[in-house]
Amino acid sequence: MTAPSEPTGAAPTEGSPGMIGKAKDWIDYRMPIFSFMDHELHEYPTPKNLNYWWNFGSLAGIILVIMIATGIVLAMNYTPHVDHAFNSVERIMRDVNYGWLIRYVHMNGASMFFLVVYIHIFRGLYYGSYKPPRELLWWLGIVILLLMMMTAFMGYVLPWGQMSFWGATVITNLFSAIPWVGDAIVTWLWGGFSVDNPTLQRFFSLHYLLPFVIVGVVVLHLWALHTHGSNNPLGIDRKSDKDSIPFHPYYTIKDLYGLGVLLIFYMAIVFFAPNVLGEPDNYIPANPLVTPAHIVPEWYLLPFYAILRSITFDIWFVEAKLLGVIAMFASIFILFLLPWLDFSKVRSARFRPIYKQLFWVFLVDCILLGMVGAHAPNDKVFPGIANFEYVQLGQITTAYYFAHFLILMPLLAKFEPTRPLPESISEPVLGNRAEAGE
């Protein structure tokens, strides 16, 4: 990018032609916003070998915008009061123009957001995107995930159905496991002595606030990303200009194509099966006197719910309940340590034959945890086998989840024989891809 030039009186060679061009130059000289946009969105050098798994970051950003846009409209028609919340949602569905569409886009948008972000995270795990110099970028991503979980949980409470109420009760009760001050904290969170109107109102307030906090952290995430640029499927640094292409038009068009594919899937759910991902119980108005048979969170929180419920035993003087809460939070916070647990110099799983296998085992483990979270602890895993219940499967998969990070990753980093890395992105070692089984 050329240095900003003072438009008045300067030689016209550097400036843009025409009235609009002059106005642009005038602004840019005083605040180089157009140079900045050109630098970060247009010429921004990007590895030329990114595959479609690299689409999911921008897709997540677009869904965040969709969620905020639909959410603002919903908030205009929603009433955060225990006597009116459920009814106001039904009014949105029936009487607000296209209210059903806006609500279904928002409701299923949460699922799409998590789906896209989970793929984004697993892509990072596969290609080692958390390794130096991208640790801070990785951390900011985990902060976004935590904020998303809080936002989604509070949003799920707002329709004030049975699952809203009982989900809020179960999750807020987790804090009562904290020794000595737990009960006081829970009362403080509720704004009373049970989940009630003050709880609903503060959840609504925070549900509106947190997405904008997410936007802020996304800006930091992008800042960190643009400092060193994207990782790539080979996991090696770019060595020359030949390894890079400008973001626009190459990745803008690729991202738009990916967006089209995602929207087909997303809109098929919105229009043809809008409630398939939800719990029917949430169309029953909240009733503090009737507990649902199974209290389950939305699918995207099930693996963490499974870890929470897997600790059924006290260790020494620490109660099982507290241990479960610790395990659940640890399952996310352990991701912060990943850049040091996996200190292997090789980023991409393409050149790490054993890690490549273990990545898929870990993915299966996470899916199994999700299944455990969806079942009652005493359900049988296989109809024929009497004493193998979901609680046991949950304990095995929870143990493996932590073992993957705490034992396998450090061991692999130290002992795994890695494949030779290619010289550069544009000139990979001949036959390397075939060798790596790609």
């Binding site: 030329k48 009814n87 039904e90 569905m93 029936r94 059903w100 569409l101 279904y104 049975q162 009982w166 009760t169 179960v170 009760n173 987790l174 292409i245 038009p249 190459y250 068009i253 690729k254 738009l256 194509y257 967006l259 089209g260 594919v261 929207l263 087909i264 809109m267 098929a268 919105v270 229009f271 043809f272 809008p274 409630n275 029917p280 119980d281 169309y283 029953i284 503090p288 006197l289 009737v290 507990t291 649902p292 048979a293 209290i295 929470l308 419920r309 600790i311 059924t312 109660e319 099982a320 309940k321 479960g324």
Partner: protein, 258 residues
């Protein structure tokens, strides 16, 4: 976590002790209902208007004695194919309380199309008092509030048995129903052959009435269904074409690389 569940269970039991009832949310899970053919299922599904009108008749003459439909307005009945005059007449059959008037008094008047369906009981306590302690739920979103809601509702209405299986003893005021969780339901079998006389001459068998009223309640729960599916078909076709163009453009833009 066990402690939390125990705590929840104990508090729920303690709170519910005052109103010992068998709720539709009892702990036992309902068996999977048999799948039926519905006019409104699939990508091109629409509500069978004749069935909707018959179902409305069943709701009006049978269900509405105990079950409300408070999120639906009388004006919405126009979607069933009724004329404005017919909708006005349906509304006018009902007396609703309005007010206060200029003298500060509540008064009753005939319902207008803009009113929502009047619930049969003023509150949950009155409903329970009149129904042996059981609470007949509002039916506005009932097909969305149960797993496989329409199939479940049809099964519920058609699988009452006069005698419970051997070894099962029914408490006073409870009925055996195969579809209901726990197989004991407080709802008196609502449908008997010829419980209504259909205006279009259709024979009012129990399966026929169950099918019609389920169709009506599916409409009540999702009145936007036809508009939603029609828009969805257009949106998906548009997106497929757009995405195909995007893919072609992507190929074109990237073709000068390598």
């Amino acid at each position: 976590m066990r402690n939390i569940k125990a705590l929840l269970a104990v508090s729920a039991i303690a709170l519910a002790a005052g109103a010992v009832t068998v709720s539709s949310l009892s702990a036992a899970t309902a068996p999977k209902p048999k799948a039926q053919d519905w006019s409104f299922q699939g990508l091109f599904g629409t509500f069978d208007r004749a069935s909707l009108q018959r179902g409305f008749q069943v709701y009006k003459e049978v269900c509405s004695g105990c079950h409300g439909l408070k999120h639906v307005a009388y004006r919405n009945l126009a979607a069933l194919g009724y004329t404005e005059a017919q909708v006005k007449a349906f509304a006018a059959e009902v007396e609703v309380t309005d007010g206060p008037n200029d003298n500060g008094e509540m008064f009753t008047r005939k319902a207008r199309p803009s009113d929502r369906f009047k619930s049969p009981f003023p509150n949950e306590q009155a409903a329970r008092a009149a129904n042996n302690g059981a609470y007949p739920p509002d039916l506005s979103v009932i097909t969305k509030a149960r797993p496989k809601g329409t199939d479940y509702l049809y099964a519920l209405l058609t699988t009452y048995k006069e005698e419970p299986p051997q070894g099962m003893k029914m408490p006073e005021g409870m009925f055996y129903n195969e579809a209901f969780a726990g197989q004991q339901i407080a709802m008196v079998p609502p449908l008997a052959a010829d419980a209504v006389q259909y205006q279009d001459g259709t024979k009012a068998t129990v399966p026929q009435m169950a099918k019609d009223v389920t169709t009506f309640l599916a409409w009540a729960a999702e009145p936007e269904l036809e508009e939603r599916k029609a828009m969805g078909r257009a949106v998906i076709i548009f997106l497929i074409v757009l995405t195909a163009f995007m893919y072609a453009l992507k190929r074109k833009v990237w073709s000068d690389l390598h």
